[in-house]
C-alpha cells in the first residue's frame, strides 16, 4: 500500500488552532472576562481620565498596561482553565489516544493566546486613538505590539505550569487570586509610582512588572532598570515555568 502513515501536518495544526480559538471565542464567560475587563477598565480609568493631547498621557500609559493586563488574562485563563479541565475530565486522553501530535495541542493553545492578545491590543489601541486622545508614533505602536506578542510567552508558560497543579473547578478562582493582585502590584492598573513604597520595592518579583517596564519604555515613558535586564528576567521566568510544568507533568504521569 502506498498510503501515508501520518496525516499532513500543516492542515492538522491549522485546524487544531482554528478550533481552539473558535471554541474560546464562543465561550462567553471567557471572552467577557478576558476581553471585557481590560476594555471596561480602560474606558473607566484611561479614556475618562484623558485630558487633551498630552504626549505622555495617562490614557497612553494605561493603554499599554491594560493591554498587558489583557494578554496575561487570556494567556493564563485560556491555557490553564482549558488544560486543567481537559486533563482532569478525560478530553485530553481522547486526544492523546488519537494520532494528534502533542505539539499541535500546545501550539494551538499558544496561537489562541496570541490571537486574543492581539484582539485586546487592537481594541485598546482603537479606543485610545479615537476616544483617549492618545498621541503615539508608528514606531511606538510597533514596539508595543512586539512587546505584547512576546509577552504572551512567559504567561502562556505560567498558564501551562498552573494547569498542572490547579483542580478544574477551582482553577478560575485560584487564577484570579494570582492574576488580580499581581496586576495591581506591577502598576498595570495605575502608575507604579503612586503605589506604597514597599510595593514599589518588591515589584521586580512580578513578571508583569518587567513586561510593563519594557512596554512603557517602548512608547516613551521613563522606566526603571534596563530593557536587557527586564528581558532576561522574563526569559528566566519562562524557563522556570516551563521546567516546572514538565516536572509536574511527569510527576502527575507517574502518579496515575
Amino acid at each position: 500500500m502506498t498510503t501515508m502513515t501520518v496525516a499532513p501536518r500543516f492542515p492538522l495544526y491549522r485546524k487544531e488552532a482554528k478550533y481552539e480559538f473558535l471554541r474560546l471565542l464562543r465561550a462567553r464567560t471567557f471572552t467577557l472576562a478576558t476581553i471585557g475587563f481590560p476594555v471596561m477598565f480602560y474606558l473607566l480609568f484611561g479614556v475618562v481620565n484623558s485630558r487633551g493631547h498630552e504626549i505622555l498621557s495617562a490614557s497612553k500609559y494605561l493603554m499599554a498596561t491594560y493591554s498587558i493586563f489583557g494578554l496575561v488574562g487570556c494567556s493564563l485563563f485560556g491555557i490553564s482553565v482549558t488544560l486543567s479541565n481537559e486533563r482532569n475530565l478525560g478530553w485530553l486522553e481522547v486526544k492523546q489516544a488519537s494520532p494528534m501530535p502533542a505539539p499541535a495541542y500546545l501550539v494551538a493553545k499558544l496561537l489562541t493566546a496570541f490571537a486574543f492578545a492581539t484582539i485586546i491590543f487592537g481594541l485598546l489601541l482603537t479606543l485610545g486613538l479615537t476616544m483617549g486622545h492618545v498621541v503615539i508614533t508608528g514606531a511606538e505602536i510597533r514596539n508595543l505590539a512586539l512587546t505584547i506578542l512576546g509577552g504572551v510567552l512567559p504567561f502562556a508558560s505560567m498558564g501551562l505550569m498552573l494547569a498542572m497543579v490547579v483542580p478544574p473547578q477551582a482553577a478560575p478562582g485560584i487564577l484570579n487570586l494570582i492574576y488580580l493582585p499581581m496586576s495591581f502590584c506591577s502598576g498595570l492598573w495605575m502608575p507604579i509610582s503612586v503605589l506604597p513604597h514597599w510595593l514599589q520595592t518588591v515589584a521586580p518579583v512580578w513578571p508583569t512588572y518587567h513586561l510593563a517596564q519594557i512596554a512603557l519604555g517602548g512608547i516613551g515613558f521613563g522606566t526603571q532598570g534596563s530593557v536587557t535586564g527586564h528581558i532576561a528576567a522574563l526569559a528566566g521566568f519562562t524557563v522556570l515555568m516551563l521546567g516546572l510544568a514538565i516536572v509536574l507533568f511527569r510527576r502527575n504521569g507517574a502518579k496515575s
Binding site: T3, M4, T5, V6, A7, P8, P11, L12, K15, E16, Y19, L22, R23, L24, R26, A27, T82, N85, E86, L89, G90, W91, E93, V94, Q96, A97, S98, P99, M100, P101, K255, S256
Partner: protein, 306 residues
C-alpha cells in the same frame, strides 16, 4: 494444485493485531491489573466484561499507550501504541466527563478527520454514527445519546483497523444502542477489530465473537458467549414445595439448592429427571418454572467470590 485448494479451504490463520502480555498496573497500593494477557485477532469483536473497578478501562488504556505497564508489555500492530504511525490505525471511544462544549458536531468531525491520513468522508461518518440533522449543533446542545454517538464518530472517522470502545452505549436509549451495535457488526464485517468494554451482558452476548471476563485485575474466563454460558452447568428449577433441602440435593444432577422467600431454587444438570421425581414426591408442588442460564448467571457465578 490440490495443496492450494486445501489451503484455501482452511480459514486463514488469525492475525494477531494487538496484545497485552503479563501486563501489570498498579495505582499506588491498588493493583488494577495483575499479569493480564489478552490477544486480539484481526476481524474479531472482543468484549471485555467485568464489574466496576475490575480493570477493564486500565486494560484499554494500556493498549492505547495512555498508561505504561509496570510489568509486561502492550503491543499494537507489532509496535508501541504511542508511536504516531500506529495511532493512525487506532480509534478510541473513551469515557469522558466533559468535552469542550462550544464546538459544533461538524467541527469536531473536521478536526478529528485531520488527524488521520485517509479518513472516511464526512457524509459516511454522519450516516454511520447517526448524526444527520445535528451537524450544526454545539456539543452543549446534544442529548446524552447524541454525545455518545459523536464520540463514536470521532473514534471511527479515521477509518482505523482497530477500534476501542469503552462502555460505548452508556447513556444511550434503546434505539441508539441497537444502532451502535449494528455499526460494530459492520466494522467487524469490514475486517476491523473491535475491543469493547461493557457491563451490559446482553451487549456482549449479541456482539462479541469472544468474551473475556475480568475481575479484580485478572482474567477469570475467556471464550465464545456459548462457552461462557456453559460455565454454569444445567438449568434452574423454581417452585414452591414442601420437600426438604437435603432430599432435593440427592435428586439427579442437582448442584445447588436454595430457598428464598418460600420459593425453592434447584439447579440441576438433569433437570427433567429431577422434576419428574419432585412432582412424584410432592403432589402439592406448584408455581413451577424452569429456565436456562443467561449469560448474566454465568457472569455472576464467575465473578462472585472465587
Amino acid at each position: 494444485m490440490v495443496a492450494v485448494e486445501e489451503k484455501s479451504a482452511v480459514s486463514a490463520p488469525a492475525v494477531e493485531v494487538a496484545y497485552l502480555r503479563g501486563a501489570t498496573k498498579s495505582y499506588g497500593a491498588h493493583r488494577a491489573l495483575d499479569e493480564v494477557s489478552l490477544s486480539l485477532s484481526a476481524g474479531e469483536v472482543v468484549a471485555l466484561l467485568g464489574p466496576n473497578g475490575a480493570g477493564k478501562t486500565t486494560a484499554i488504556k494500556l493498549l492505547l499507550g495512555l498508561l505504561g505497564p509496570d510489568a509486561g508489555e502492550a503491543r499494537v500492530f507489532g509496535g508501541n501504541p504511542r508511536d504516531p504511525a500506529t495511532r493512525t490505525r487506532i480509534g478510541a471511544m473513551l469515557q469522558v466527563a466533559r468535552v469542550p462544549e462550544t464546538l459544533k458536531v461538524k467541527e469536531y468531525l473536521d478536526l478529528f478527520r485531520s488527524y488521520y491520513p485517509a479518513p472516511l468522508s464526512v457524509e459516511h461518518v454522519v450516516r454511520v454514527a447517526g448524526l444527520a440533522g445535528i451537524e450544526d449543533r454545539l456539543f452543549s446542545q446534544l442529548s446524552g445519546g447524541q454525545k455518545q454517538r459523536l464520540l463514536f464518530a470521532l473514534a471511527i472517522c479515521g477509518d482505523p483497523d482497530l477500534v476501542f470502545l469503552d462502555e460505548p452505549t452508556l447513556g444511550m436509549d434503546i434505539e441508539s444502542r441497537h444502532g451502535l451495535w449494528q455499526q460494530v457488526r459492520d466494522l467487524a464485517a469490514r475486517g476491523k477489530t473491535v475491543l469493547l468494554t461493557t457491563h451490559y451482558l446482553e451487549e456482549a452476548d449479541s456482539l462479541a465473537s469472544r468474551i473475556v471476563v475480568i475481575n479484580k485485575g485478572a482474567v477469570i474466563a475467556e471464550g465464545t458467549p456459548a462457552q461462557i454460558k456453559s460455565r454454569v452447568s444445567g438449568r434452574t428449577i423454581k417452585c414452591v414445595t414442601s420437600l426438604d433441602e437435603d432430599l432435593l440435593r440427592r435428586l439427579p444432577g442437582v448442584t445447588s439448592v436454595e430457598v428464598k422467600h418460600g420459593t425453592t431454587i434447584v439447579r440441576s444438570a438433569e433437570v427433567e429427571d429431577a422434576v419428574r421425581q419432585m412432582l412424584a414426591l410432592d403432589t402439592g408442588l406448584h408455581s413451577l418454572e424452569i429456565s436456562s442460564p443467561a449469560l448474566e448467571d454465568a457472569f455472576l457465578a464467575l465473578t462472585k467470590g472465587e
